[in-house]
Amino acid sequence: MVPLSYYLVLSGILFACGVTGFLIKRNIITIFMSIELMLNGVNLSFVAFAAHWQQLSGQVFVFFVMVVAAAEAAVGLAIIIAVFRTRETLNIDQVNLLKL
């Protein structure tokens, strides 16, 4: 028997790691991965809550999240490629023509 809150905390930590990654990583792809990490964290809490409420809809939600994540990945990576084409860099700090 494990308190569900442990699962929730775990998910929270994962989410936090994702956010941190977004903040500190420079490589666009890695940043994108951090986002995926956040989503995973969210998924965990969905499943946990589903278990708590005995509601399958939580798990279904996770399913949809995964689909979305996949779609995002496709688009996101395409965008990354496009950026790389015009900039020849993956360092987010150098993608700053637009400012002020």
Binding site: V19, L23, I24, R26, I31, I92, D93, N96, L97, L98
Partner: protein
Amino acid sequence: MTPNLHLWLIPILPLIGAAINGLLGKRFSRRLVAAVALAFCGAAFGMALWIAAQFSSLTLPHVEVVTSWLRSGTFTIDYAFSLDQLSLVMLLVVTGVGFLIHIYSVGYMWEEGGYYRFFSYLNLFMFFMLTLVLASNYLLMFVGWEGVGLASYLLIGFFFLRDSAAAAGKKAFIVNRIGDFGFLIALFLIIQHFGSLDFQKVFAAVKPYAAETSGAGFLTAIALLLLLGACGKSAQIPLYVWLPDAMEGPTPVSALIHAATMVTAGVYMVSRSHVIFERAPVALMVVAIIGTLTAFFAATIGIAQTDIKKVLAYSTISQLGYMFMACGVAAFSAGIFHLMTHAFFKGLLFLAAGSVIHAVGGEQDMRKMGGLRKHIPWTFWTMTIATLAIAGIPPFAGFFSKDEILWRAYQVSWIYWLVGVITAFLTSFYMFRLLFMTFFGEYRGAAGAEHGHEEHAGHGTHLGRDDSRAGVPAPHGHGHGGIHESPAIMLVPLVILAILSLGGGWIGIPGSLGGGNHFDKFLGPVFRTSTPAINSEHAQPGEAAPPEQQTEGTEPQTGHGTELMFTGISVAAGLLGLFLAWVLYGRPTDLPDRIAASIHGLYSAVVNKYWIDELYASIFVKPLIAISGVIFWRGIDQGIIDATLNGSASGARELSDELRHMQSGNVRSYAGWVAIGAFAVIVYMVWVGLHAS
């Protein structure tokens, strides 16, 4: 049931003339212009005479309401004209003298550009002056009051190419405005206390009040404020400064406006409101003091002036001082009497002076004249008469009026009398000085005629239009050479006025000289009905005060003997002045210069009119302009207010500049902002949540 005299026509007629000349005159020939002007002015005069003719049949005061002018709530002002003895006298004087001067001007101004302008202004003046005289309420009077000021502004500035003339006109208007300020406040006080400006109503309301012997109440306030107005208009201390400058105007203007009529408006107004003044002893005293001071003060200045018109100007101020003195001692009829005679002889003096100036080609400096009596005899003789009159030599008009005033002044305080006598002496001195310097000795201004051209070198700018020479005084006597008598059309008025200044005083011969003092009696109804009750308890409005309380016309306890003695003294003073003038200026001598040298400081003070103009300039005008310019405009307006605005604007821009640095362009910092925002939101919501549960 009194007949409808259509009083309103009297002012309107000259107005029509003014309108015609002003709008169309440009296309008229000079004759036509003159004809129009004379016609309408004459018509007014004729009407005045006609009214005078049937005056006895009127129930006085005779009021005619034309229509209502303005209304605000219950407070209304009508176009209402009233006629009583006082206004009749003024009416005759104004129209009569005015008409004469119109005639005179036809000749005098013949050479000037802007002929039509001149006459339209002149008629305009008549309009306003007559409104002032005939008005039946203070506001309508104020209309005339301001209007004459306007007319004098226009006429003083008639030679507008001369900066001095333009400046003088402005000065006159503004100084008058200062007086009018007082007048306005007085009106407001009257409205506040009596709810009306109608003479009859106001006076009726005032009558019950007792004289404010102890301290000063609102009546005193009203009186003093009215006095301020009067001082402005009648050139009394401290507001007299505009009148000497006003001599920049054409001479007939000086004669009409700045001697005969307009400047006496103050006296008229004070006498008109005598009901109020009589109840404000303090104010009366102030009037008397101002009058006395002015009379003396101006006379002293008059001594040293060399410009013939300036001398006359100061003498006018001085004579007006006499009139104020009269009013101040509640001898209103005497004041009006002097007003009338003064109108005659001073008008004459100016016209004569004009004729002199005309003769010597625009020269006004007496030092450049002399020995003119053989060239222009008519002018000489008429001017002599006028001089005798103003000097108070019997039996000329001035004698009687001035004597009356002095006598009445004495009864109030011997100081007034003393100063008055001294002034009389000074008056005759400088007047004869003028006479001698001008007409006796040798002609000193050989180049005068030529001199005239440069004097007002205004005609550098000829544009060949009608108005081209408007505003430049024509160099008189240019064309026909040298010194010459004026044309008949100018001499006729001189003669008529000479007769009047000779005999004009006879209608007011005091009893002490075996006369009946008809003038005083004539005006009696106006001035006698109203002496204040000792205490307001047992005095109802409109009730005539019992005879023994009357200050007017009561024969003083001192008998004829003393009165004759005083008369003698004043005459003597006049003669003394004549003699002294003869000694100093009658024949060529350097005595005057030596005297001047010996009392140099005093002399230069007098010559420079005690530097009053400079004083005013340095304590009022300059500081005001400086403050407005430096402190208000540059300082407050631009320095503070605008600066603050622009400052706040630029402040916003800087803030904005700071804000845009949020946009570092770096995604991670954006994410940072989002994270911070999220953090804040979370904290807040958790806080709320904890409090909610």
